[in-house]
Subunit: 562 residues, 2 copies
């Protein structure tokens, strides 16, 4: 019978090739269309999701001490009522450690094959996982299926490619012989063994629970480390579904299911710091707030730490070919997932004298009006607005909007107020449209803070060059995951690309015709690690190469002389 590695070999080879040349490719279709998945899959997935509600989640873990779970749907306002195992951290850690030896001693292809099978089965549960993501993280169904679903799975496969490449770089054995001095020589056989570091804690965020979840899982598990998922207390289900798949696949392969486990908690009784500071924790992958990310980097020096946090993503507008397309593209970023993405735009830098668009001068005011109008256009059709904006992950976003609105009233100008929009399907959905505030460039302390949610600033600068200088300075100091420039002036465009890159930030130029928040697996490197928005690229050799170490044994075969 073919091994899983052999079964998935073609797909894996295609992923290896895509990573090498970084063209557009996907292993997992991002559309939930019945033309791809058949007519039954959508309904079956929904039914599986609904069967989980108001029930004990079907999972048994070591060290269980009862059940816990307080997830509330951002769409219905109702509790999901799912009760997850609550575990003793020492017990789950011991179980993870006890599971290591056979996994560590298996070969690279076995471990990669298990990860490939896990990804494949996760692809088979994207429908229920999209419902789970929708009713925890607040994403629209289509977004949950694509972004937190297929696209995240692609990033997982991509991380697996890098883990494989790093491990394949180490040969399993060698034959070594040489002369020493005139009279003696020795011949040795050498064996090189990859050793895991130990338990790897994967802290998932509330808004995109699996974006880093799949890559960190694949990077750590393939290299021999057990993985303990720690989902956000309001976004457990999407992660628990993955944990169930992992444990099922591991058990089928003859390994301990405790190689992948789950620690759940509530906001009232958090378990994360105890888990991260556990002396056995060897690796930490974290997605979440910059504040907690910095706490981890300071307090968890016993572990390898990989973070993705957040920053103040900026757009600099200098000129453009097609103003309508530019405004549509940027406005979409302000709306998409209610700007709760790590790539959402917050700061839009515009020169006071306006820009040249479509060959004509356009004033600052005209451009601001056009951006507001483009947002309105995205929101005009209720079903479309709901697909694009989704819901707010928690009530804290309303507080952020309130704070920003007060700031706009007092120190800036509110260009567009935020109000809830009426969700066509879920009347109780927690929603908000974009709040857009005009500020002056001198008010840097206001806009160099991240406002997580649908808050954006139109920042008037004395010149395009000054807008660029401030945007790159902000990125360097406050972090950025995505940055944008619109310019048809070649000299300015080159200067802008250099300025962002030299600030340790990636930059996109003149994007239209596509969601500008989109980060393409196998093509876009993610976090640069050179600014405060985190250290984890997700998909490069640096993300994987230090998750395992090399030990060797060498044995004399023959010796002569001295």
């Amino acid at each position: 019978m073919a091994t899983w590695f052999q079964q998935h070999r073609d797909k894996f080879n295609r992923a290896l090739d895509a990573c090498k040349y970084r063209y557009a490719w996907s292993a997992y279709p991002e559309s939930p269309s019945s033309r791809i998945h058949g007519t039954q899959a959508a309904a079956a997935g929904r039914a599986r999701f609904e069967a989980l509600l108001n029930n004990d989640y079907p999972l048994t873990l070591p060290g269980e001490m009862g059940r816990v779970g307080a997830e509330v749907s951002p769409y219905t306002g109702a509790a999901l009522g799912i009760r997850y195992p609550k575990v003793d951290i020492d017990a789950i850690m011991s179980a993870a450690q006890a599971a290591i030896p056979p996994w560590r001693d298996s070969d690279v292809e076995t471990r990669v094959g298990v990860c490939l099978e896990i990804l494949e089965r996760c692809a088979g549960q994207l429908f229920e996982n999209a419902h789970a993501t929708m009713h925890t993280a607040g994403q629209s169904f289509i977004m949950a299926f694509a972004g937190s679903g297929a696209n995240a799975l692609d990033r997982g496969l991509e991380a697996l490619v890098y883990a494989y490449k790093a491990m394949a770089d180490v040969p399993t054995d060698a034959d070594w012989q040489r002369q020493f001095g005139k009279d003696s020589s020795a011949r040795l056989t050498k064996h090189y063994k990859l050793m895991p570091r130990g338990p790897s804690v994967n802290v998932c965020c509330a808004t995109f629970p699996l974006w880093n979840g799949y890559p960190a899982l694949c990077a750590s598990l393939a290299t021999g480390n057990p993985v303990i998922f720690k989902p956000h207390p309001n976004a457990i289900l999407p992660v628990a579904l993955v944990v169930s798949v992992c444990r099922e696949v591991l058990a089928e392969a003859g390994f301990s299911p405790d190689l992948v486990s789950l620690v759940t908690d509530t906001r009232a009784q958090p378990a994360t710091t105890a888990l991260l500071q556990h002396p056995a924790t060897a690796i930490i992958d974290f997605t979440g707030s910059p504040h907690f990310g910095q706490w981890i980097e300071t307090h968890c020096r016993h572990a390898q730490v990989y973070t993705e946090t957040a920053g103040c993503n900026a757009v600099v507008m200098e000129s453009c070919q097609d103003m309508a397309a530019m405004c549509r593209a940027v406005a979409q970023s302000l709306c998409q997932a209610s700007a709760q993405m790590c790539t959402s735009v917050q700061n839009i830098h515009i020169p006071a004298q306006g820009i040249v668009a479509d060959g004509r001068p356009v004033s600052y005011e005209q451009l601001a009006d056009a951006l507001v109008a483009a947002v309105e256009e995205h929101l005009a059709e209720p079903r479309q607005a709901a697909l694009l904006c989704g819901a707010l992950v928690n009530d804290g976003i309303y507080a952020t909007l309130e704070k920003a609105r007060a700031l706009g009233d007092q120190q800036g100008q509110i260009l567009r107020n935020s109000t809830p929009y009426a969700h066509p399907e879920y009347p109780s959905a927690r929603t908000a449209t974009p709040l857009m505030i005009a500020l002056d460039q001198s008010q840097q302390t206001l806009y160099s803070e991240e406002f997580f949610g649908p808050v954006s600033f139109l920042i008037k600068g004395p010149s395009a060059e000054s807008c660029l200088a401030i945007a790159t300075d902000n990125a360097r100091r406050c972090g950025a995951i995505a940055s944008h420039v619109y310019s048809i002036n070649e000299a300015f465009l080159n200067a802008a690309q250099d300025a962002f890159n030299h600030a340790g930030v990636s930059v996109a130029c003149n994007l239209t015709g596509m969601p500008i928040n989109f980060a393409a697996a196998y093509s876009d490197y993610h976090v640069t690690g050179l600014n405060p928005a985190g250290s984890a690229c997700l998909t490069d050799l640096a993300f994987v190469a230090n998750r395992f170490r090399i030990v060797q044994r060498k044995t004399l075969c023959t010796a002569s002389g001295a």
Copy 2:
């Protein structure tokens, strides 16, 4: 004209192949024989070394504030009288940072080519560098030429191979296009740029100044980072000679020589902590004491840290084929470089009931006597003793010997006392022969401490299994860089290899006929990073992959729809 990368391409390709298959290969001959180097090289090298004595070292650096230097030869007891530039740390750091842009913006082959040329020219100065190493670190000339010379250069080339592989894994550009939804599509060109982290401080140790020096130089410089060498105050010259070569090659290539610079100090006024804690320091490579290594890991969280410190290297003796060869091999480790190597053996674990050797039972006492006799044999011929033992790096080794001797008198049994040996060429040489002390396995607190220098313990355990258990436990808790087992019992040998490997330690079995301290470039992975002896393998992807980061720029070519 061929570029340096093209000129050295054949050698580099051979190094790539050797790293892949890890057979025995060397790019640099380790013998100083005139048959290899011609009849002039040795004398010319010596003359160049002697011309440097009692002089200002010919090097001008940014931020000079006078001269400093207090090196004393362990062979003559006389001051070398070489005065090095003393620099202002802020100034040298600013100069390093200012030198980055053109180097960062050059391509991978240019940077690797410069590093290859540096290694080549360093190979051309191995004679003077061996004299420099001898009269600072105390190594014998032959050891200095091979170990701290050619073998270390090989490790530098090996690190360069890994830096190249990690960088070559990132393509320079990509063409990306895809459909979004039914109606829109976008085509982007993408460029990926490697970015250095920033100034890389290379702290070299007193006994083997360039062992980590060349690898850390190549790993950091090739990936775009400026390198600031910080040699030990009594072993500046070997490092300064390399810095001079680097600056010369960089200038010839049209780059700023300040990409490689030097900070010197004295023991009375050390500069290391200020340099390491400088906010601009982005990478630290450290070789030295576990104590200082731990200080760095705790206090320099702003930098990527790679350490090689030390541990308590052990031998477990269970049985052997050829007792004379085994004793000769282990005794050589006790003598070689006066056991001041990171791979020197300290703890020799022997079962109380003795071992089976050459098919006959040998008592513990007989084996202990044979080990002492084997040491005597290595020391019998004065020229041979001098070649093997060299001199002591500093007076502190005498203090260590005194401490160990007192311990042996009070709590163990001195099997062989240490005395200075008479160096045939340098009557004032600071020398010591091996001190060998018998302890009982129960005295673990005594032998689980590193005694740096020619101190070893014969540790009597109740059984071979118990010896193994204690040796691996020690390695796990106190660190180890080299471990040895002698056994012809296949079951025991397998158990021992597993036990050491699972403790995160590499192990060598039944080595005879070669210097067992020898670590082979392109074949032996060095520090495992899984025990307290350090984190830097030197020559794997983990050593290089996080010294640079990736930033990208993507630009819309064509878009349609949306």
